[in-house]
């Protein structure tokens, strides 16, 4: 290796190392939208009636399909191209006691969490996933979507779902009942699943109010009586008083997880048992965008690299051509 080659190699190495080491200055997590709306799902109040599943299908025009097996209603096992919302069941042993980890059972709602710093929005190449700047609602826009399904791999909750059984399928996800044509929230209404929930297990409202409510419930002990609101927390339709049968986990899911979510969950059972993913506070979006932007620094680095490469290649190519 002569001196020039050595310098060149060393230079490339240093440049490479510089790229890699600055990766650490990724951007911070996004903050909640100024007028963020969301939902609070309280697993201890859920009775598993699945009224929200049916209502969700109705308002979103995903009428239950008769799959030829005699079922007249669609109680899907998981989210799919025609199901935006499911109620799942945790059960252990004899499954005798509600909200008990041992020999008990519990319900869990799965629908879009409306992340504060959404992975799906960050990874979509054509901006087909958008976070509303005011309400924080994450919507999907099929007219832009190319169907690459990166949102599916980039969503920590596996929420966006593609219609694999349709040659001209599209992505579906819960858009908080606010997609074009429905716009329940813009019209001053609430989400269909919250509206029909008989116990207030699914509660709609501004994220900040829901967070306060969740924190109040964290303070309760089993045996306490509490007046639970139904519908929209900013203007509840009714309340119902109930005695707490189990202690809450001291954990508001969505306060911090991967940057937080607008849909908050509370429960008497640890969230990993309910199938929630192992997330840290940092959003993957903030980390991966940091890496991407450091490597590309808004194209300045590639442009400089191109200039250098062009020079080196031209000189070497002229040399070789001369030799031949």
């Amino acid at each position: 290796m002569d001196r020039r080659t050595f310098l060149k190699t060393a230079g490339a190495g240093v440049a490479g190392a510089a790229c890699i080491s600055t990766v650490a200055d990724a951007r911070p997590n996004l903050e909640p939208a100024p007028e963020a709306v969301g939902m609070l799902y309280d697993s201890t109040l859920c009775v598993g009636c699945k009224a929200c599943v049916t209502a969700c299908k109705e308002v979103n025009d995903m009428t239950p399909v008769d799959r030829g097996d005699g079922h007249i209603y669609d109680s899907a096992l998981d989210l799919s191209g025609d199901t935006l919302n499911v109620i799942k069941v945790y059960s252990d042993g004899t499954a005798a006691v509600k909200d008990s980890e041992e020999n008990g059972f519990a319900f869990e709602k799965r629908s879009c969490m409306h992340c504060v710093d959404p992975g799906c929005v960050s990874v979509c190449p054509v901006t087909a996933m958008r976070r509303d700047p005011l309400t924080g609602i994450v919507t999907h826009h099929p007219d832009a979507c190319i169907g690459c399904r990166t949102c599916m791999v980039g969503c920590p909750y596996n929420v966006p779902q593609f219609e694999y059984d349709n040659a001209f399928g599209r992505i579906h996800k819960c858009q908080m009942c606010n997609q074009e044509g429905l716009e329940r929230i813009n019209k001053g209404g609430m989400t269909a699943c919250a509206e029909v929930c008989p116990t207030g297990a699914t509660l709609f409202g501004p994220r900040s109010m829901l967070m306060e409510e969740a924190k109040r419930r964290m303070e309760l002990k089993s045996g306490d009586n509490y007046n639970f609101p139904r519908g929209d927390i900013s203007k509840p339709e009714s309340y119902h008083e109930k005695e707490l049968e189990a202690d809450y986990q001291n954990h508001i899911w969505g306060e911090k997880e991967a940057g937080g979510t607008n849909v908050l969950h509370i429960s008497a059972i640890a969230f990993d048992k309910l199938g929630m993913p192992p997330l840290e506070d940092r959003s993957y979006a903030s980390v991966s965008e940091g890496v991407q932007h450091t490597l590309y620094k808004y194209m300045a680095l590639p442009a400089a690299a191109m200039a250098g490469l062009t020079y080196v290649v031209k000189r070497n190519k002229d040399n070789h051509d001369g030799e031949e």
Partner: protein, 379 residues
């Protein structure tokens, strides 16, 4: 002017006919995908939206097509003109590999009829790795076409155009080095956004782009060795071992860097326990590591590198190592949570096999009709 010559000879050899049959079977299943939806052919699902069409055709396929990229760096950045004779064949394989990677990405696109949205500035999301990879790969395919064009122009005797192209070629060669550097490292960045779904032994925030780039380069150099050895046997060409052995040396160097980064990251982040956990992931990791280490050990001594057989085995091991690394990270150890699993369907595999068969057919036809390979010995 190059000294490459068309090989001539019959096109419809038994190998060609076999590929043709595989290709036709693949096209049948591809037809079903377009009439009945992706679910009718592929086993991809809600938790595994990316199956082998993305992971093999695009993520691994393009790395196997990095021969042109790896040689371009050696020849034009490190000024090693003696590798010129290998360049055309490498470029052809890169062109075919990347073009079919592009085809793979297209057929896997759920809404392919809107693919042009990727090119419309008002749709672009500059935070998205997928945008960068999509645009970079598309541009690189065009660059490869231009880089390979001289072979075609020589053949049809368009000397005027050839002369002009030759004057401008350096720009495209430079692009042909920059673009793969960008998108091959970005393939690693995909893994960052997948977060916990990628198993701990394959998830590393800071080194993902570097590891992806190093494996792309080593796979690129290995495929050059593999192609040269395979064509030498298949088409009875002169021995290139002395040139290839120097490439073997480069591979050893790159692999050593790779292994230091890979294991350094695992040790520093306290993930050694996962290696010996004895579960599926640890076995896959050990297998992958063995495949990476074999070429290093085999090619460490000058004498072994001169042995064309050892060289070929080392290259093959490296190709499997790099492929397994990407399969492991994107698919085999990918875990989206309870309730989801994935194993490719026969139809899905046949589509990929069909695409590869087409690639081989095209390669065989092109080297017979265009000046790609060298018949006389040199270097």
């Amino acid at each position: 002017m190059s000294h490459a010559k068309p090989l001539g000879g019959s096109i419809f050899t038994p190998a060609f006919m076999l590929c043709l049959v595989l290709f036709v079977i693949g096209m049948y299943f591809l037809g079903v995908r377009f009439t009945d939806g992706m679910g009718a052919v592929a086993n991809i699902n809600g938790g595994f939206p990316w199956g082998i069409w993305v992971v093999y055709d695009v993520v691994i396929g393009t790395a196997l097509a990095c021969g042109g990229y790896a040689l371009a760096i050696t020849i034009y950045v490190f000024n090693k003109g003696q590798y010129h004779p290998l360049m055309r064949a490498a470029l052809l394989a890169s062109l075919l590999g990347y073009a079919l990677g592009g085809v793979g990405a297209f057929i896997d696109m759920g809404r392919y009829w809107q693919f042009y949205n990727l090119l419309l500035p008002w749709h672009m999301n500059f935070n998205a790795v997928m945008l960068e990879v999509g645009l970079c790969v598309t541009t690189y395919i065009l660059v490869l076409v231009i880089e390979f064009a001289p072979a075609f122009l020589e053949r049809i005797g368009a000397h005027g155009v050839l002369k002009i192209l030759n004057k401008m070629l350096f720009i495209f060669i430079a692009l042909g080095i920059l673009l793969p550097t960008m998108h091959q490292s970005s393939l690693g960045s995909f893994l960052i956004a997948m977060g916990y779904k990628v198993a701990p032994l394959w998830q590393t925030v800071h080194f993902q782009p570097l590891l992806a780039l190093l494996t792309a380069l080593t796979m690129g150099f290995s495929i050059v060795i593999f192609e040269a050895s395979a064509s030498q046997v298949a088409f009875d060409l002169p021995d290139e071992t002395s040139l290839l052995s120097k490439i073997g040396k480069i591979i050893v160097g790159l692999l050593l860097v790779y292994l230091v980064v890979r294991f350094g990251e695992i040790i520093l982040n306290g993930k050694v326990g996962y290696i010996f956990a004895g579960d599926k992931n640890s076995l896959l990791f050990l297998l992958e590591t063995l495949l990476f280490i074999f070429p290093v050990v085999a090619l460490l001594s000058q004498k072994m590198r001169q042995n064309s057989r050892v060289l070929l085995w080392a290259a093959v091991s490296m190709l499997f190592a790099g492929s397994l690394y990407r399969f492991n990270a994107f698919l085999f150890t990918y875990d989206p949570g309870p309730g989801y699993s994935y194993f490719p369907s026969v139809g899905e595999v046949m589509v990929t096999v069909g695409i590869v068969a087409f690639e081989i057919m095209a390669y065989m036809v092109m080297v017979k009709m265009l000046p790609v390979l060298h018949k006389e010995a040199h270097a």
